[in-house]
């Protein structure tokens, strides 16, 4: 007897070819084609949520304004009696009242500045709007900087994105060792703030007996030495220039073949640097990175050209990371850890193994049960079940979705739940056969009667899954994805696939008159 092809089975067969084609790259780990990405919990990796201390960005903004006004007044030969600044603003007292106007107009050029002049003093603060802008900028700049740094770190596809208003999401897949993880974390969080500072020559000798607050009263700050924390340096608090004027940084070597970092400054930086060194021959210049003094050489002559070196006691690897950090720019504000999830690759591999065992075990149990209970109808349902698994894999590959451990659990669960639609249908058909309906009528009415139950039952589960996707985070989203695709696939395979198979086999079922073989019932 010839089996008749119908539109359902044709569509189903086409769909199967389609999904097998698209799940092949993931299944056999082919080079080409879109593949399912494994989540960090399965392949190992680092997930972090970072916060930005935005108030620090405002503080450093004010500090850099202070540095620029200082440089400006030196050029214009304006004598400053006192210069104080804190996180709220700058207060400047001038010796000559006539200069107030010049300083005022300099301040007015600065965006968002609120300038107040009383007698010889001029004070500057930032408007609320400007403060907010500075804070927002600090976050976007941090994202940009971290992304730049990680792009040069050499991991495949690092993810750096803003999450919510003020959090930064960093996801690094494929981190193999603790050392590698720590290196990445150091690179991310390094402020990489380069400052060239003048040593306070008059008081430097007293540095070891001085407190930080006493130093502050002279407009100085005490900094530790990078190689030996016991060694202290007394430097002017307002830097000569900072890393914002840096254009390039790369690793070089000194005469003893020890790594060092060479940097170049832009034109403005080069000018300021040249001016300062020209004036300060015989004095010390401190090269400060992240509030640590790396060197404090004596200035022998005016240094033009705007380039310098940072020598320190670091390995080539450290120097390389440092150069990356300097090149990508400094972080305007320090970042801190809000959430971290790190999974070692061996745990990920164990999780894959365990969930695969559960998947195969559950799958075999269900398949055997369906055949024992429904006979041929069970085999037909099992075909749908296998098709479901391929559909999940293909859809996930096509959309580049991420498979996580909860996602694997979702697939295992789908195996148990996906037979549901076919169970509903088979039960309806059995019922109609018991009522004495013909095979044709039993199949057609069985499908028709089951339809509303299948739809309603699956849509409610889908509602829960969609909510989970919208509100879930990280790995849990993966569960929502697999379960949603699984539900949709099970409806599709039952309505289209198994119905088509029954239609195709209908004549044969009628002829055999063996309900035990086909539906597992007597009669």
């Amino acid at each position: 007897m010839r089996m008749k092809l119908n539109y359902r089975i044709t569509l189903f067969a086409l769909a199967i070819i389609f999904v097998i084609f698209f799940s092949a790259p993931s299944l056999f780990q082919l080079q080409d084609g879109k593949k399912v990405t494994l989540g960090l919990d399965l392949q190992g990796g680092l997930h972090m949520l970072l916060g930005v201390k935005t108030e620090e960005a405002v503080k450093s903004r004010i500090k850099s304004i202070a540095a620029s006004v200082k440089h400006f007044s030196e050029r214009k030969d304006i004598l400053i009696d006192k210069l104080n600044f804190d996180e709220n603003g700058i207060t400047l007292t001038l010796l000559d009242k006539d200069d107030v106007k010049t300083i005022q107009s300099f301040f007015h050029e600065i965006q968002g500045a609120v300038v107040v002049a009383v007698d010889e003093s001029v004070s500057l603060s930032l408007s609320d709007e400007e403060i907010l802008k500075t804070q927002q900028q600090a976050i976007s700049q941090a994202i940009e900087t971290i992304r730049n740094r990680l792009d040069q770190f050499g991991l495949t596809e690092p993810i750096v994105a803003r999450q919510g208003e003020e959090k930064i999401l960093v996801q690094l897949a494929g981190i193999k060792t603790i050392e590698e993880e720590q290196r990445a974390r150091e690179l991310i969080s390094r402020a990489a703030k380069l400052e060239l500072m003048a040593v306070d020559e008059d008081r430097a000798a007293r540095v070891y007996s001085m407190t930080q607050s006493e130093a502050a009263s002279y407009g100085d700050v005490i900094l530790e030495d990078a190689t030996n924390p016991q060694v202290k340096h007394l430097v002017r608090e307002i830097p000569i220039l900072d890393g914002s004027m840096l254009t390039d940084a790369h690793v070089g070597f000194d005469e003893n073949n020890r790594p060092l970092i060479s940097f170049s400054l832009n034109a403005e930086g080069a000018e300021i640097f040249g001016d300062f060194t020209g004036k300060s021959v015989g004095k010390h210049l401190a090269v400060v990175l992240d509030s640590k003094v790396y060197s404090a050489p004596v200035i022998n002559e005016r240094i033009g050209g705007g380039s310098g070196q940072i020598s320190g006691n670091y390995t080539v690897m450290e120097a390389k990371d440092l150069a990356i950090a300097l090149r990508s720019g400094s972080l305007l504000a320090p970042i801190y850890l809000m959430e971290k999830r790190s999974v070692g690759p061996s745990l990920g591999a164990d999780s894959i193994k365990a969930s695969l065992i559960a998947l195969v075990g559950g799958f075999i149990l269900v398949i055997v049960f369906m055949v024992v209970y429904y006979r041929m109808a069970g085999i037909i349902a099992n075909i749908a079940l296998i098709a479901n698994l391929f559909i999940i894999l293909a859809v996930m590959s096509l959309f580049g979705a991420t498979l996580t451990l909860p996602g694997m659990a979702g697939i295992v669960l789908t195996v148990g739940m996906a037979v549901d639609a076919n169970v509903i249908i088979s039960e309806r058909i059995r019922e109609l056969i018991h009522e004495g309906k013909s095979i044709h009528k039993a199949i057609e009415d069985g499908y028709a009667n089951a339809m509303s139950a299948i739809l309603d039952a699956n849509i409610t589960t889908l509602i829960a899954a969609v909510v989970l996707y919208a509100y879930g985070t990280g790995a849990i989203k993966g569960f929502a994805i697999t379960i949603s695709i699984g539900i949709l696939a099970s409806m599709l395979t039952a309505i289209l696939g198994t119905h088509g198979i029954y239609e195709m086999l209908e004549k044969r079922i009628q002829k055999s008159k063996n309900n035990l073989l086909w539906f597992g019932i007597k009669g």
Binding site: E339, K340, A354, S355, Y373, V412, D420, T460
Partner: protein, 323 residues
């Protein structure tokens, strides 16, 4: 093979009183457990740190405890075996904000000298993120219930929606009670399991309701309780079978899925059993309590049909020009 041959209708509604009592006792018991023992929130919701350590040999837990005492940040830390005796999990409430050196790193350094080990997992959740996750979690449960309520009310009738929500609350309460009873750590995965139970338990309920809806439309002179009994009996095979296949897979997940998936699988295991029970013994009797009147429904249906017919008649008269 056939478990339930449909030859006679079981008297489910007659037994519903007994079931109601069992359900009420279980739900109240769960509430009591939640009130007294409470839920054991894990790091995801309470904030804190988890460090999973695997040793080459059996983990020297006593020695580890001794080592951890040396640093104040480990105060209140607990060490428990995780899946095998080589593997342990250290749980603490401490979190650190430093990106370069975090609690995980400190733990690793502190444990040096206790044997050869590997840090396999470090989870640090700051209190702020923890409370945000908790808020989001509760929101998601509420939203899911509301979405389902609206859908069922739209597809069936408000009494059906209320009855299914009663069943859902019943299921989730008992599942939470069971979690509290065994002291399972509540993390994001348990929340995901609870949401799955919502969907799953409803799935069963809807199948029964679908039959009841069919029964109401078909038979006008049958008592509502009888329709319910008939519907449950007819769907009994399906309810049991699907629950069974799902139970198969959840059970394999529970047994072989690994320690990380344990809490998730346990929650599902309880939820599926309770969910199956509730769709038969909670949802339908609740429907009965709300008193759905089949006769009234048919009168309404007939009136509606009459109105339609009247409209049709007027329309045809109008079209043929007879006024």
């Amino acid at each position: 093979m056939e478990f339930f041959k449909f030859s006679k209708t079981f008297d489910f509604m007659g037994k519903s009183k007994v079931a109601m009592i069992i359900s009420i006792v279980l739900v109240l018991g769960s509430f009591a457990l939640l009130a007294t023992k409470g839920l054991n929130y894990g790091v995801d919701f309470a904030g804190g740190t988890i460090v999973q350590v695997k040793y080459n040999t059996a983990a020297p837990i006593d020695e580890m405890r001794e080592k951890l005492k040396s640093n104040a940040i480990f105060e209140g830390a607990s060490i428990t075996e995780f899946g095998s005796e080589e593997e342990v999990v250290i749980r603490m409430r401490t979190t650190t904000g430093d990106v370069v050196v975090d609690v995980g790193d400190v733990t690793r350094e502190t444990l040096v000298g206790t044997g050869e080990f590997e840090i396999r997992r470090v989870d640090i959740v700051g209190t702020k993120v923890g409370s945000e996750l908790k808020e989001k979690g509760i929101m998601s449960l509420v939203l899911a219930v509301m979405g389902i309520l609206i859908y069922v009310a739209f597809r069936f009738e408000w009494r059906f929606a209320v009855a299914s929500i009663v069943a859902l609350v019943h299921d989730v309460s008992i599942a939470l009670g069971a979690i509290a009873l065994v002291g399972l750590e509540v993390n994001l995965d348990v929340l995901a399991a609870l949401l799955t139970i919502l969907g799953y338990s409803l799935n069963d309920t809807i199948i029964v309701f679908d039959r009841i809806r069919e029964g109401i439309v078909k038979g006008r002179d049958i008592e509502f309780a009888e329709i319910i009994d008939d519907s449950i009996t007819r769907t009994l095979a399906r309810t049991t079978l699907t629950s069974l296949t799902t139970l198969f897979v959840v059970f394999t997940l529970f047994m072989f899925g690994g320690e990380i998936i344990h809490a998730f699988a346990f929650t599902l295991l309880v939820g599926i059993i309770v969910g199956t029970y509730s769709s038969i013994f909670v949802a339908s009797p609740t429907l009965l309590v709300f008193g759905f009147d089949v006769k009234k429904y048919h009168v309404k249906l007939a009136e509606k049909a009459k109105r339609e017919a009247e409209k049709e008649r007027i329309r045809s008269q109008f079209e043929s020009g007879v006024m």
